[in-house]
Amino acid sequence: MIQSGDTAFILVCAALVLLMTPGLALFYGGMVRSKNVLGTIMQSIIMISLVSLEWIYIGYSMSFGPDVAGVIGDMSHFALSGVTAAPSDTYATTIPHIVFMIYQCMFAVITPALITGAFAERVRFAPFCAFSVLWAVFVYNPVCHWVWGGGFLGDMGVLDFAGGLVVHLTCGVAALVACIAIGPRKGFRKRQFIPHNLPMTLIGTGLLWFGWFGFNGGSALAADEIAATAFVATHIAGMTGMLTWTVVEWYHAGKPTTLGAASGAIAGLATITPAAGFVGPNSAVAIGLLGGLICYLAVMAKNRFGYDDSLDVVGIHGVGGLVGTIALGLFASTAINPGGADGLFFGNPGFLVTQFIGIGIIGVYTLVISWIIIKGVNAVSPLRMEDNAEEIGMDTSEHSESAYQA
Protein backbone atom coordinates (compact mmCIF):
# COMPACT_ATOMS: atom_id res chain seq x y z
CA MET A 1 0.00 0.00 0.00
CA ILE A 2 1.58 3.25 -1.12
CA GLN A 3 2.26 5.84 1.58
CA SER A 4 2.54 9.35 0.22
CA GLY A 5 4.96 10.41 2.98
CA ASP A 6 7.37 7.58 2.21
CA THR A 7 7.09 8.21 -1.52
CA ALA A 8 7.79 11.92 -1.17
CA PHE A 9 10.74 11.25 1.11
CA ILE A 10 12.39 8.69 -1.17
CA LEU A 11 11.85 10.86 -4.25
CA VAL A 12 13.63 13.72 -2.47
CA CYS A 13 16.34 11.36 -1.26
CA ALA A 14 16.89 10.12 -4.82
CA ALA A 15 17.42 13.72 -5.89
CA LEU A 16 19.84 14.25 -2.97
CA VAL A 17 21.87 11.18 -3.93
CA LEU A 18 21.99 12.34 -7.54
CA LEU A 19 23.44 15.66 -6.35
CA MET A 20 26.34 13.78 -4.80
CA THR A 21 27.76 12.94 -8.22
CA PRO A 22 28.27 16.56 -9.38
CA GLY A 23 29.35 17.24 -5.77
CA LEU A 24 31.97 14.53 -6.15
CA ALA A 25 32.99 16.05 -9.48
CA LEU A 26 33.77 19.34 -7.70
CA PHE A 27 35.39 17.54 -4.77
CA TYR A 28 37.77 15.74 -7.13
CA GLY A 29 37.99 18.57 -9.67
CA GLY A 30 39.49 20.97 -7.16
CA MET A 31 42.21 18.52 -6.17
CA VAL A 32 43.71 18.05 -9.63
CA ARG A 33 45.88 20.45 -11.63
CA SER A 34 44.05 23.11 -13.61
CA LYS A 35 44.76 21.41 -16.95
CA ASN A 36 42.78 18.33 -15.83
CA VAL A 37 39.80 19.86 -14.03
CA LEU A 38 37.24 19.39 -16.80
CA GLY A 39 38.45 15.90 -17.63
CA THR A 40 38.09 14.94 -13.97
CA ILE A 41 34.62 16.49 -13.68
CA MET A 42 33.59 14.78 -16.92
CA GLN A 43 34.53 11.36 -15.53
CA SER A 44 31.98 11.81 -12.76
CA ILE A 45 29.28 13.63 -14.73
CA ILE A 46 29.13 11.18 -17.63
CA MET A 47 28.33 8.36 -15.18
CA ILE A 48 24.92 9.95 -14.62
CA SER A 49 24.15 9.23 -18.22
CA LEU A 50 26.00 5.97 -18.90
CA VAL A 51 25.17 4.12 -15.71
CA SER A 52 21.54 5.30 -15.58
CA LEU A 53 21.06 3.86 -19.04
CA GLU A 54 22.81 0.63 -18.06
CA TRP A 55 20.67 0.52 -14.91
CA ILE A 56 17.26 0.83 -16.53
CA TYR A 57 18.05 -1.83 -19.13
CA ILE A 58 19.94 -4.48 -17.22
CA GLY A 59 21.41 -3.14 -13.97
CA TYR A 60 18.20 -2.95 -11.99
CA SER A 61 17.14 -6.40 -13.08
CA MET A 62 20.56 -7.92 -12.33
CA SER A 63 20.57 -6.28 -8.89
CA PHE A 64 16.96 -6.52 -7.79
CA GLY A 65 15.31 -8.96 -10.18
CA PRO A 66 14.03 -12.29 -8.84
CA ASP A 67 16.96 -14.19 -7.35
CA VAL A 68 18.78 -16.91 -9.25
CA ALA A 69 20.72 -19.22 -6.92
CA GLY A 70 21.59 -16.39 -4.53
CA VAL A 71 24.02 -14.99 -7.09
CA ILE A 72 22.22 -12.66 -9.48
CA GLY A 73 18.81 -11.27 -10.35
CA ASP A 74 17.16 -12.66 -13.45
CA MET A 75 16.33 -10.57 -16.46
CA SER A 76 12.61 -10.28 -15.84
CA HIS A 77 12.92 -6.54 -15.19
CA PHE A 78 14.84 -5.97 -18.43
CA ALA A 79 14.15 -2.40 -19.61
CA LEU A 80 12.07 -1.86 -16.46
CA SER A 81 9.54 -4.44 -17.46
CA GLY A 82 7.12 -4.83 -14.54
CA VAL A 83 8.66 -1.87 -12.70
CA THR A 84 5.63 0.38 -12.45
CA ALA A 85 4.00 2.92 -10.17
CA ALA A 86 2.53 0.04 -8.19
CA PRO A 87 4.61 -1.05 -5.20
CA SER A 88 6.98 -3.99 -5.44
CA ASP A 89 6.00 -7.17 -3.60
CA THR A 90 9.54 -7.50 -2.28
CA TYR A 91 11.21 -4.13 -1.84
CA ALA A 92 10.00 -0.99 -0.10
CA THR A 93 6.36 -1.98 -0.25
CA THR A 94 5.02 1.45 0.70
CA ILE A 95 6.42 3.32 -2.31
CA PRO A 96 5.98 2.86 -6.06
CA HIS A 97 8.36 0.23 -7.42
CA ILE A 98 9.69 2.75 -9.92
CA VAL A 99 10.65 5.12 -7.09
CA PHE A 100 12.68 2.35 -5.46
CA MET A 101 14.31 1.70 -8.84
CA ILE A 102 15.35 5.34 -9.42
CA TYR A 103 16.60 5.72 -5.85
CA GLN A 104 18.85 2.67 -6.28
CA CYS A 105 19.93 4.01 -9.69
CA MET A 106 21.61 6.98 -8.02
CA PHE A 107 23.79 4.63 -5.94
CA ALA A 108 24.81 2.73 -9.06
CA VAL A 109 25.76 6.06 -10.69
CA ILE A 110 28.02 7.42 -7.98
CA THR A 111 29.92 4.20 -7.25
CA PRO A 112 31.99 4.02 -10.46
CA ALA A 113 32.39 7.81 -10.28
CA LEU A 114 34.08 7.40 -6.90
CA ILE A 115 36.73 5.14 -8.45
CA THR A 116 37.90 7.89 -10.81
CA GLY A 117 39.85 9.67 -8.08
CA ALA A 118 42.35 6.81 -8.06
CA PHE A 119 43.47 7.22 -11.67
CA ALA A 120 42.82 10.96 -12.01
CA GLU A 121 44.85 12.96 -14.53
CA ARG A 122 45.97 10.09 -16.76
CA VAL A 123 43.31 7.99 -18.50
CA ARG A 124 41.69 8.26 -21.92
CA PHE A 125 38.00 8.97 -21.99
CA ALA A 126 36.69 6.22 -24.29
CA PRO A 127 38.31 3.20 -22.60
CA PHE A 128 37.48 4.79 -19.24
CA CYS A 129 33.79 4.79 -20.18
CA ALA A 130 34.02 1.17 -21.27
CA PHE A 131 35.73 0.22 -18.00
CA SER A 132 33.10 1.98 -15.92
CA VAL A 133 30.10 0.41 -17.63
CA LEU A 134 31.64 -3.08 -17.54
CA TRP A 135 32.50 -2.56 -13.88
CA ALA A 136 28.93 -1.49 -13.12
CA VAL A 137 27.62 -4.63 -14.85
CA PHE A 138 30.06 -7.20 -13.51
CA VAL A 139 30.97 -5.83 -10.09
CA TYR A 140 28.35 -3.37 -8.83
CA ASN A 141 25.25 -5.27 -9.95
CA PRO A 142 26.19 -8.72 -8.56
CA VAL A 143 27.51 -7.31 -5.27
CA CYS A 144 24.39 -5.18 -4.90
CA HIS A 145 22.29 -8.30 -5.45
CA TRP A 146 24.26 -10.38 -2.95
CA VAL A 147 23.77 -7.83 -0.18
CA TRP A 148 20.51 -6.04 -0.91
CA GLY A 149 18.70 -7.93 -3.68
CA GLY A 150 18.00 -11.26 -1.99
CA GLY A 151 21.42 -12.79 -2.68
CA PHE A 152 23.49 -15.13 -0.53
CA LEU A 153 25.33 -12.55 1.62
CA GLY A 154 22.11 -10.90 2.73
CA ASP A 155 20.69 -14.35 3.51
CA MET A 156 23.79 -15.13 5.52
CA GLY A 157 23.08 -12.08 7.68
CA VAL A 158 25.66 -9.65 6.30
CA LEU A 159 24.34 -6.13 6.93
CA ASP A 160 25.12 -2.98 4.98
CA PHE A 161 22.70 -0.16 5.65
CA ALA A 162 23.56 2.23 2.82
CA GLY A 163 26.59 0.93 0.98
CA GLY A 164 29.70 0.44 3.09
CA LEU A 165 30.28 -2.81 1.22
CA VAL A 166 28.25 -2.29 -1.95
CA VAL A 167 29.52 1.24 -2.62
CA HIS A 168 32.61 2.16 -0.62
CA LEU A 169 34.46 -1.13 -0.29
CA THR A 170 33.90 -2.07 -3.93
CA CYS A 171 35.02 1.32 -5.21
CA GLY A 172 38.02 1.34 -2.86
CA VAL A 173 39.21 -2.11 -3.97
CA ALA A 174 38.64 -1.26 -7.64
CA ALA A 175 40.53 1.99 -7.09
CA LEU A 176 43.53 0.12 -5.71
CA VAL A 177 43.52 -2.33 -8.60
CA ALA A 178 43.05 0.43 -11.17
CA CYS A 179 45.78 2.75 -9.98
CA ILE A 180 48.29 -0.12 -9.81
CA ALA A 181 47.29 -1.49 -13.23
CA ILE A 182 47.30 1.92 -14.92
CA GLY A 183 50.48 3.14 -13.23
CA PRO A 184 51.41 6.40 -11.60
CA ARG A 185 51.09 9.83 -13.15
CA LYS A 186 54.02 10.97 -15.28
CA GLY A 187 56.55 12.54 -12.96
CA PHE A 188 55.14 10.83 -9.86
CA ARG A 189 57.48 11.44 -6.93
CA LYS A 190 59.58 13.82 -8.99
CA ARG A 191 57.05 16.52 -9.71
CA GLN A 192 54.47 18.16 -7.50
CA PHE A 193 50.75 17.60 -8.02
CA ILE A 194 49.27 20.47 -6.06
CA PRO A 195 45.45 20.86 -5.89
CA HIS A 196 44.53 23.78 -8.12
CA ASN A 197 41.35 24.97 -6.39
CA LEU A 198 40.59 23.87 -2.85
CA PRO A 199 37.51 26.10 -2.49
CA MET A 200 35.98 23.98 -5.29
CA THR A 201 36.83 20.86 -3.29
CA LEU A 202 35.13 22.35 -0.24
CA ILE A 203 31.95 23.16 -2.18
CA GLY A 204 32.01 19.54 -3.33
CA THR A 205 32.38 18.40 0.26
CA GLY A 206 29.30 20.40 1.25
CA LEU A 207 27.25 18.95 -1.60
CA LEU A 208 28.38 15.42 -0.76
CA TRP A 209 27.48 15.86 2.90
CA PHE A 210 24.07 17.30 1.97
CA GLY A 211 23.45 14.43 -0.44
CA TRP A 212 24.61 11.90 2.13
CA PHE A 213 21.48 12.58 4.17
CA GLY A 214 19.53 11.15 1.24
CA PHE A 215 22.05 8.37 0.75
CA ASN A 216 21.85 7.13 4.34
CA GLY A 217 18.52 8.55 5.53
CA GLY A 218 16.73 7.29 2.43
CA SER A 219 18.15 3.82 2.83
CA ALA A 220 15.46 3.25 5.44
CA LEU A 221 13.20 3.28 2.35
CA ALA A 222 10.50 4.97 4.42
CA ALA A 223 10.08 8.25 6.32
CA ASP A 224 10.24 6.49 9.65
CA GLU A 225 12.23 6.11 12.90
CA ILE A 226 15.06 4.29 11.15
CA ALA A 227 15.43 7.12 8.62
CA ALA A 228 15.63 9.59 11.50
CA THR A 229 18.25 7.46 13.27
CA ALA A 230 20.29 7.12 10.10
CA PHE A 231 20.06 10.84 9.31
CA VAL A 232 21.31 11.81 12.77
CA ALA A 233 24.06 9.14 12.84
CA THR A 234 25.23 10.39 9.43
CA HIS A 235 25.64 13.95 10.61
CA ILE A 236 27.29 12.91 13.86
CA ALA A 237 29.87 10.70 12.15
CA GLY A 238 30.62 13.35 9.50
CA MET A 239 31.29 16.06 12.03
CA THR A 240 33.25 13.71 14.31
CA GLY A 241 35.37 12.56 11.38
CA MET A 242 36.10 16.17 10.43
CA LEU A 243 37.16 17.10 13.94
CA THR A 244 39.24 13.95 14.41
CA TRP A 245 41.17 14.39 11.16
CA THR A 246 41.76 18.06 11.90
CA VAL A 247 43.08 17.41 15.40
CA VAL A 248 45.26 14.48 14.33
CA GLU A 249 46.68 16.46 11.41
CA TRP A 250 47.28 19.50 13.61
CA TYR A 251 49.25 17.32 16.02
CA HIS A 252 51.04 15.26 13.38
CA ALA A 253 51.74 17.78 10.60
CA GLY A 254 51.78 21.02 12.58
CA LYS A 255 48.78 22.86 11.09
CA PRO A 256 45.08 22.15 10.58
CA THR A 257 44.19 22.36 6.86
CA THR A 258 40.94 22.85 4.97
CA LEU A 259 41.63 19.81 2.78
CA GLY A 260 42.14 17.84 5.99
CA ALA A 261 38.82 19.00 7.42
CA ALA A 262 37.06 18.08 4.16
CA SER A 263 38.81 14.72 3.98
CA GLY A 264 37.89 13.90 7.57
CA ALA A 265 34.24 14.72 6.94
CA ILE A 266 34.11 12.43 3.91
CA ALA A 267 35.96 9.71 5.85
CA GLY A 268 33.45 9.93 8.72
CA LEU A 269 30.50 9.90 6.31
CA ALA A 270 31.85 6.92 4.37
CA THR A 271 32.54 5.03 7.60
CA ILE A 272 29.05 5.51 9.05
CA THR A 273 27.36 4.51 5.79
CA PRO A 274 27.05 0.75 6.44
CA ALA A 275 26.03 1.35 10.05
CA ALA A 276 23.84 4.47 9.87
CA GLY A 277 20.46 2.86 10.52
CA PHE A 278 21.69 0.27 13.00
CA VAL A 279 23.53 2.33 15.63
CA GLY A 280 22.74 5.00 18.19
CA PRO A 281 24.27 8.49 18.43
CA ASN A 282 27.09 7.56 20.81
CA SER A 283 28.14 4.69 18.61
CA ALA A 284 28.05 7.11 15.67
CA VAL A 285 30.52 9.35 17.48
CA ALA A 286 32.82 6.36 18.02
CA ILE A 287 32.49 5.34 14.37
CA GLY A 288 33.22 8.87 13.12
CA LEU A 289 36.26 8.98 15.36
CA LEU A 290 37.53 5.65 14.04
CA GLY A 291 36.84 6.76 10.48
CA GLY A 292 38.71 10.05 10.86
CA LEU A 293 41.69 8.47 12.57
CA ILE A 294 42.11 5.28 10.54
CA CYS A 295 41.49 6.95 7.18
CA TYR A 296 44.10 9.59 8.06
CA LEU A 297 46.60 6.85 8.84
CA ALA A 298 45.64 5.02 5.63
CA VAL A 299 46.28 8.12 3.53
CA MET A 300 49.65 8.61 5.25
CA ALA A 301 50.51 4.94 4.63
CA LYS A 302 49.98 5.37 0.88
CA ASN A 303 53.28 7.16 0.60
CA ARG A 304 55.08 4.12 2.01
CA PHE A 305 53.45 1.70 -0.42
CA GLY A 306 54.25 3.89 -3.38
CA TYR A 307 51.13 3.50 -5.55
CA ASP A 308 49.62 6.64 -7.04
CA ASP A 309 46.01 6.71 -5.80
CA SER A 310 45.82 10.34 -6.89
CA LEU A 311 42.91 11.53 -4.76
CA ASP A 312 42.96 8.87 -2.00
CA VAL A 313 39.97 6.74 -2.96
CA VAL A 314 41.53 3.71 -1.28
CA GLY A 315 42.48 5.53 1.90
CA ILE A 316 39.19 7.34 2.37
CA HIS A 317 36.40 5.36 0.68
CA GLY A 318 37.87 1.85 0.68
CA VAL A 319 39.23 1.99 4.21
CA GLY A 320 36.19 3.97 5.40
CA GLY A 321 33.80 1.33 4.02
CA LEU A 322 35.94 -1.43 5.53
CA VAL A 323 36.18 0.17 8.96
CA GLY A 324 32.46 1.00 8.99
CA THR A 325 31.48 -2.55 8.08
CA ILE A 326 33.63 -3.91 10.90
CA ALA A 327 32.37 -1.21 13.27
CA LEU A 328 28.82 -2.29 12.47
CA GLY A 329 29.81 -5.75 13.70
CA LEU A 330 30.84 -4.08 16.95
CA PHE A 331 28.21 -1.39 17.52
CA ALA A 332 24.99 -2.69 15.93
CA SER A 333 22.08 -2.84 18.35
CA THR A 334 18.60 -4.27 17.94
CA ALA A 335 17.46 -1.72 20.51
CA ILE A 336 18.07 0.89 17.81
CA ASN A 337 16.83 -1.16 14.86
CA PRO A 338 14.90 -4.38 15.59
CA GLY A 339 15.37 -5.37 11.94
CA GLY A 340 19.16 -5.35 12.36
CA ALA A 341 21.44 -7.38 14.58
CA ASP A 342 23.38 -7.07 17.81
CA GLY A 343 27.11 -6.53 17.46
CA LEU A 344 30.02 -7.68 19.59
CA PHE A 345 29.54 -4.92 22.15
CA PHE A 346 25.92 -5.95 22.52
CA GLY A 347 26.71 -9.57 23.20
CA ASN A 348 26.79 -11.14 19.75
CA PRO A 349 30.33 -11.89 18.46
CA GLY A 350 28.95 -14.10 15.68
CA PHE A 351 27.67 -11.07 13.79
CA LEU A 352 31.17 -9.60 13.61
CA VAL A 353 32.38 -12.83 12.00
CA THR A 354 29.54 -12.59 9.47
CA GLN A 355 30.63 -9.06 8.58
CA PHE A 356 34.22 -10.25 8.03
CA ILE A 357 32.96 -12.97 5.69
CA GLY A 358 31.08 -10.33 3.71
CA ILE A 359 34.19 -8.16 3.49
CA GLY A 360 36.37 -11.09 2.41
CA ILE A 361 34.05 -12.32 -0.34
CA ILE A 362 33.24 -8.89 -1.76
CA GLY A 363 36.86 -7.74 -1.48
CA VAL A 364 38.32 -10.71 -3.33
CA TYR A 365 35.57 -10.77 -5.96
CA THR A 366 35.94 -7.04 -6.67
CA LEU A 367 39.70 -7.32 -6.84
CA VAL A 368 39.70 -10.18 -9.34
CA ILE A 369 36.91 -8.92 -11.59
CA SER A 370 38.19 -5.32 -11.62
CA TRP A 371 41.62 -6.60 -12.65
CA ILE A 372 40.15 -8.70 -15.48
CA ILE A 373 38.05 -5.77 -16.74
CA ILE A 374 41.01 -3.39 -16.74
CA LYS A 375 43.26 -5.84 -18.54
CA GLY A 376 40.50 -6.61 -21.04
CA VAL A 377 39.76 -2.96 -21.81
CA ASN A 378 43.46 -2.20 -22.04
CA ALA A 379 43.96 -4.95 -24.60
CA VAL A 380 41.31 -3.42 -26.86
CA SER A 381 42.08 0.26 -26.25
CA PRO A 382 44.79 1.50 -23.86
CA LEU A 383 43.43 3.29 -20.82
CA ARG A 384 46.61 5.26 -20.34
CA MET A 385 47.00 8.59 -22.10
CA GLU A 386 50.04 9.07 -24.33
CA ASP A 387 52.89 10.95 -22.66
CA ASN A 388 52.42 14.09 -24.67
CA ALA A 389 48.66 14.17 -24.13
CA GLU A 390 49.14 13.69 -20.40
CA GLU A 391 51.54 16.63 -20.33
CA ILE A 392 49.08 18.84 -22.21
CA GLY A 393 46.31 17.76 -19.85
CA MET A 394 43.02 15.96 -20.26
CA ASP A 395 40.95 19.10 -20.78
CA THR A 396 42.60 19.98 -24.07
CA SER A 397 43.78 16.60 -25.28
CA GLU A 398 40.63 14.59 -24.49
CA HIS A 399 37.88 17.22 -24.65
CA SER A 400 39.22 20.26 -26.59
CA GLU A 401 38.16 22.58 -23.80
CA SER A 402 39.88 24.58 -21.10
CA ALA A 403 38.39 25.53 -17.77
CA TYR A 404 40.11 28.87 -17.36
CA GLN A 405 40.92 31.32 -20.13
CA ALA A 406 44.08 33.32 -19.48
Binding site: Q192, I194, P195, E249, H252, A253, G254, K255, T257, L259, G260, S263, Y296, V299, M300, N303, D312
Partner: protein, 112 residues
Protein backbone atom coordinates in the same frame (compact mmCIF):
# COMPACT_ATOMS: atom_id res chain seq x y z
CA UNK B 1 66.76 59.92 -16.22
CA UNK B 2 66.69 56.68 -14.31
CA UNK B 3 64.46 53.66 -14.18
CA UNK B 4 63.69 52.38 -10.71
CA UNK B 5 62.63 48.76 -10.63
CA UNK B 6 61.36 47.47 -7.30
CA UNK B 7 60.65 43.83 -6.49
CA UNK B 8 58.97 43.46 -3.13
CA UNK B 9 56.12 42.02 -1.09
CA UNK B 10 52.61 42.25 -2.60
CA UNK B 11 51.02 43.76 0.44
CA UNK B 12 53.46 46.69 0.48
CA UNK B 13 52.10 48.10 -2.79
CA UNK B 14 49.72 50.62 -1.25
CA UNK B 15 52.35 51.96 1.17
CA UNK B 16 54.88 52.36 -1.64
CA UNK B 17 52.35 54.07 -3.88
CA UNK B 18 51.50 56.54 -1.13
CA UNK B 19 55.17 57.26 -0.47
CA UNK B 20 55.86 57.87 -4.16
CA UNK B 21 52.82 59.99 -4.89
CA UNK B 22 53.71 62.19 -1.91
CA UNK B 23 57.02 62.86 -3.70
CA UNK B 24 55.12 63.94 -6.79
CA UNK B 25 55.67 60.79 -8.86
CA UNK B 26 52.84 60.74 -11.40
CA UNK B 27 52.88 57.22 -12.78
CA UNK B 28 54.04 53.70 -12.29
CA UNK B 29 53.70 50.25 -13.79
CA UNK B 30 52.95 47.33 -11.51
CA UNK B 31 53.21 43.65 -12.37
CA UNK B 32 52.56 40.50 -10.39
CA UNK B 33 55.66 38.36 -10.64
CA UNK B 34 57.06 35.20 -9.10
CA UNK B 35 60.59 34.36 -8.11
CA UNK B 36 62.92 33.62 -5.29
CA UNK B 37 65.99 35.12 -3.70
CA UNK B 38 67.45 34.46 -0.32
CA UNK B 39 63.97 34.10 1.13
CA UNK B 40 63.49 30.91 -0.92
CA UNK B 41 60.02 29.45 -1.26
CA UNK B 42 57.60 28.08 1.27
CA UNK B 43 56.11 24.73 2.24
CA UNK B 44 52.50 23.69 1.64
CA UNK B 45 50.88 20.54 3.04
CA UNK B 46 48.06 18.60 1.35
CA UNK B 47 46.77 15.51 3.16
CA UNK B 48 50.08 15.21 4.97
CA UNK B 49 52.20 15.39 1.80
CA UNK B 50 54.62 18.31 1.84
CA UNK B 51 55.17 20.37 -1.28
CA UNK B 52 57.95 22.91 -1.70
CA UNK B 53 56.68 25.98 -3.53
CA UNK B 54 59.87 27.53 -4.92
CA UNK B 55 58.48 30.62 -6.56
CA UNK B 56 57.13 33.21 -4.20
CA UNK B 57 54.57 35.71 -5.51
CA UNK B 58 55.92 39.29 -5.51
CA UNK B 59 55.13 42.58 -7.18
CA UNK B 60 57.40 44.48 -9.51
CA UNK B 61 57.01 48.25 -9.78
CA UNK B 62 58.65 50.21 -12.61
CA UNK B 63 58.98 54.00 -12.55
CA UNK B 64 61.07 56.40 -14.56
CA UNK B 65 62.23 59.61 -12.85
CA UNK B 66 64.67 62.48 -13.19
CA UNK B 67 68.14 61.87 -11.78
CA UNK B 68 67.82 64.32 -8.87
CA UNK B 69 64.81 62.42 -7.47
CA UNK B 70 66.60 59.08 -7.20
CA UNK B 71 67.83 59.39 -3.60
CA UNK B 72 64.44 60.52 -2.29
CA UNK B 73 62.55 57.87 -4.22
CA UNK B 74 64.82 55.06 -3.06
CA UNK B 75 64.45 56.31 0.49
CA UNK B 76 60.64 56.49 0.23
CA UNK B 77 60.41 52.98 -1.22
CA UNK B 78 62.74 51.57 1.41
CA UNK B 79 60.79 53.20 4.21
CA UNK B 80 57.52 51.84 2.88
CA UNK B 81 58.67 48.31 2.06
CA UNK B 82 61.07 47.48 4.86
CA UNK B 83 59.96 44.93 7.45
CA UNK B 84 63.48 43.88 8.43
CA UNK B 85 62.67 40.25 7.60
CA UNK B 86 64.23 38.26 4.77
CA UNK B 87 62.17 38.75 1.59
CA UNK B 88 61.76 42.53 1.66
CA UNK B 89 63.04 42.62 -1.92
CA UNK B 90 65.36 44.74 -4.04
CA UNK B 91 65.53 48.06 -5.85
CA UNK B 92 67.34 48.19 -9.18
CA UNK B 93 68.40 51.55 -10.68
CA UNK B 94 69.37 51.85 -14.32
CA UNK B 95 69.93 54.70 -16.77
CA UNK B 96 67.29 55.59 -19.35
CA UNK B 97 68.34 57.11 -22.69
CA UNK B 98 65.12 58.82 -23.55
CA UNK B 99 61.36 58.77 -23.01
CA UNK B 100 58.72 59.64 -25.62
CA UNK B 101 55.08 60.40 -24.85
CA UNK B 102 53.21 58.78 -27.69
CA UNK B 103 50.23 61.16 -27.70
CA UNK B 104 52.19 64.43 -28.05
CA UNK B 105 55.62 63.36 -29.24
CA UNK B 106 57.29 65.12 -26.27
CA UNK B 107 60.54 63.54 -25.18
CA UNK B 108 62.99 63.59 -22.27
CA UNK B 109 61.96 64.92 -18.86
CA UNK B 110 58.80 66.51 -20.31
CA UNK B 111 57.52 63.07 -21.24
CA UNK B 112 58.02 61.45 -17.81
Amino acid sequence: MKKIEVITRNYKLDDIKEGLTSLGIKGMTVAEVKGFGRQGGHKEVYRGAEYQVDFVPKIKIDIVIDDELVADVVQAISNAARTGEVGDGKIFISPIDDVVRIRTGESGSDAV
